[in-house]
Homo-oligomer: 459 residues x 2
């Protein structure tokens, strides 16, 4: 998979296949450092990191002992945090310093920002003075801000230069970033005025003014903007790179789309895990203890809301006592409500994240959800009415469950849309907190409606 | 927000603010075409599309009538499908043809692939012959394949050229793609051998061989690869662009990271909606009827599994009749099980999507989940035992609920991890089908364990 390899229709997913992992483990077991290097060297850093993550902790330790000196900065960057920390701890100081020095500033920041203070200092000390100041300045911006995400390596040129001047500058500059796709035009006060794509630079006459070639998609980001905003901006406007300015509007760095794509992916993971009540920092390599802790908080919240729902049931203990069919059927009402509520809530949380649900259409969308809830509530209520009436031979029981389902599914729709919107207005992540609220509402309304109606209409 | 505007620390999200939407609606109401153009022209196509999506259907119709001729291909590309179709229907043939011609081949494909046959022909006829053949050839590849995603506009150069030859070629070529970041090196048989980043091209001596400048990150994609695989590849290897080859290994097109980022975003939306049982093609602009239909399928599945759980309860109707406290407490057991199962399932579905959960670590991760389930089951069982014993004054009831919670949370963990893995092996999207299976298991096990233990230990 290296440059030299002809790309012979390879399978996309086989950068790291199970066979290679098996061979790696065998080489580690045999303490065969040479064979190990041969197996690992052709791999992309991302694949080496995946391999290190997937093998068992003892295998991992043995591999690092045997091959640790070859671990470079890129591999460290790709590793999951929970594994990166002990690994950094274990690496000899020179190996670590060497690994860090080859990284771009944004990768160093990504690497050190979650480390403990002591490890952080160890890494910063390994950097050259100018790089260290850059990293320290990035770390002074809030976590998850554009200032942390940006790299300081960029190409900025005076806005009044011509194509020829730009090409000569780039050609004679030894310290260009590894990757750059635009040259940024700046005013004498270092304020970015636009950018020119390299393709356009290459294909224009030398005497063309750079300012005539600026891309209309130009947008700047401020160091304090949240990285999730930045990812949204890249995806929405199809940006490839965006200059980052400091509080005074001066050029401070640049964010490229590959970093924005990484953030988008992380944001999605966070949303998904939060909606399921899983600690969003959790990882597959966490220990049992970390995992248990990460799950317990939400289970505690769920226990409290479940007890609340039980208290509603308890209000009607006598009703149930008189007709045990109610106990049999009541979970159906709550379950249907919970599911309908989750459907609406998920649509709402996603639409808020993509900025599709706005104050402009909130009322329209809410009405649609409530109407849908009423139609499905009516339809499934009818189905369930027939089943219940036949099952227990009590026609009125059918009427009760039909009405209860109608109420509950309307309440589910209402809760599913109103709660995420309200949380968003309160600046609480809707993904984090909507779930418990919505299921509490559907459980409570479901049991209340079903048992309450039963106590009035049946007994 | 145009190139000319100095980027004065603007708020990221204000490309489209509510005030501007209000002004647009007022201009539409007043039939003031001039004012409308003034308001819409400075906006990015993505923002115009958002605006069209967010206003009400009658406002939308009025806007299109007044401003329809200004709608360009980019705006059409950005629009949600459910709105795009009627809009294309409504546009005059010349406006449509004009709008389509300015698009890159991949955008035209994206635009036409979901249209009905008649509309598709209308658009294809508007294209010039060579473009039409390109689009038709892309449409011959399967939906959601790399062949559909790629653009045919690219810069391919002989692999034995020098930097000077490359620069001269680019400089004298009138028909370059709008955006390109690499030149692709090809063999005489048009097989891609590597690529060179434009930045490297610009900064190297004219006599350098291009083959000495090739990026190590080079990876090719095959036209038939799934677009989700492509998005994974870009994110995993931090690619900026990737050449696409046909079945014979010949260069057919190129995919750039902005398209891959769009796919990644869509894949996430799909996962999220599927896990919540919402039709993944649904959109906020769907009608009530479409929405109801999109939700009903999953609610039907849920109804069936809920009835199954009720049948378990019905087995113990007599037990409940003797002790109504069981009816009060049983939803707590099922609810905790459902939540724990959803937690594990979500982690598993995500880890399968990111290729972190593999045959290599499946057993290890499963054991971790089961252990976590047992610990949380024990802990929350204990808490609930004390609450139940105090609430109903029956110590043995506490023991029953504690044991039932332990069983249920272990079953939830087992189901939450095994079911997604099994579905993946069967080539069924784990996100689509895990939910109903897991909650059925937790409900059935929960009610069975709690009521079964109660019937043995309490009565």
């Amino acid at each position: 998979m290296q440059t030299e390899t002809p790309p012979e229709n390879e399978d996309l997913s086989d950068g790291l296949d199970q066979e290679r992992i098996q061979s790696v483990i065998e080489a580690v077991d045999a303490q065969d450092a040479e064979q190990l290097s041969e197996l690992l060297e052709p791999l992309h850093a991302a694949d080496v990191a995946d391999l290190i993550e997937q093998i068992s902790p003892p295998e991992r330790m043995a591999l690092v002992e045997l091959w640790g000196e070859e671990i470079n900065g890129e591999i460290l960057s790709e590793l999951d945090e929970s594994i990166r920390e002990p690994l950094i701890e274990a690496l000899p100081a020179e190996v670590l310093a060497e690994a860090i020095r080859e990284l771009d500033s944004d990768d160093v920041v990504d690497l050190v920002e979650d480390l403990e203070h002591e490890q952080q200092s160890r890494i910063l000390e390994a950097l050259e003075a100018t790089d260290r100041i850059g990293v320290e300045s990035a770390l002074s911006y809030p976590e998850y801000s554009a200032g942390r995400l940006m790299q300081r390596e960029l190409v900025a040129l005076p806005e009044d230069w011509s194509v020829g001047q730009a090409i000569d500058y780039v050609r004679n500059n030894e310290e260009l970033p590894d990757q750059f796709y635009h040259v940024i035009l700046v005013s004498p006060a270092m304020k970015p005025a636009g950018y020119v794509a390299l393709g356009r630079l290459l294909s224009s006459r030398r005497d063309t003014a750079l300012s005539d070639l600026m891309e209309p998609s130009f947008r700047t980001v401020t160091v304090t903007d949240e990285e999730s905003e930045v990812a949204y901006l890249f995806n929405h406007y199809h940006l490839i790179s965006a200059p980052v300015v400091d509080e005074n509007g001066r050029l401070a760095g640049v964010i490229t789309i590959d970093d924005a794509m990484g953030v988008l992916d992380e944001e999605h993971e966070e949303d998904m895990l939060r909606m399921a009540g899983v600690d969003e920092d959790s990882s597959l390599t966490d220990t049992v203890f970390q995992t248990t802790k990460g799950r317990a908080l939400w289970l505690m919240v769920n226990l409290l809301t479940a007890i609340l729902a039980s208290m509603v049931i308890n209000l009607y203990a006598e009703t149930i006592d008189q007709m045990v069919a109610l106990a049999v059927l009541m979970p159906i009402v709550a379950s249907m409500g919970g599911n309908a509520g989750t459907q609406t809530m998920t649509v709402a949380v996603r639409a808020i994240a993509t900025r599709e649900l706005t104050p402009r259409n909130a009322i329209r969308v809410s009405w649609r959800e409530i109407t849908v809830g009423a139609i499905n509530g009516f339809g499934f209520g009818l189905i369930m009415a027939i089943i219940a009436a036949l099952w227990f031979g009590v026609p009125m029981l059918g009427a009760v469950i039909a009405l209860a389902m109608l109420f509950t599914l309307v309440a589910a729709a209402l809760g599913g849309i109103v709660i995420p919107i309200a949380l968003e207005r309160l600046n609480i992540d809707p993904a984090l907190a909507s779930g418990p609220f919505v299921t509490t509402i559907t459980d409570v309304v479901g049991f209340f409606a079903f048992l309450g109606l039963a106590s009035v209409l049946l007994l």
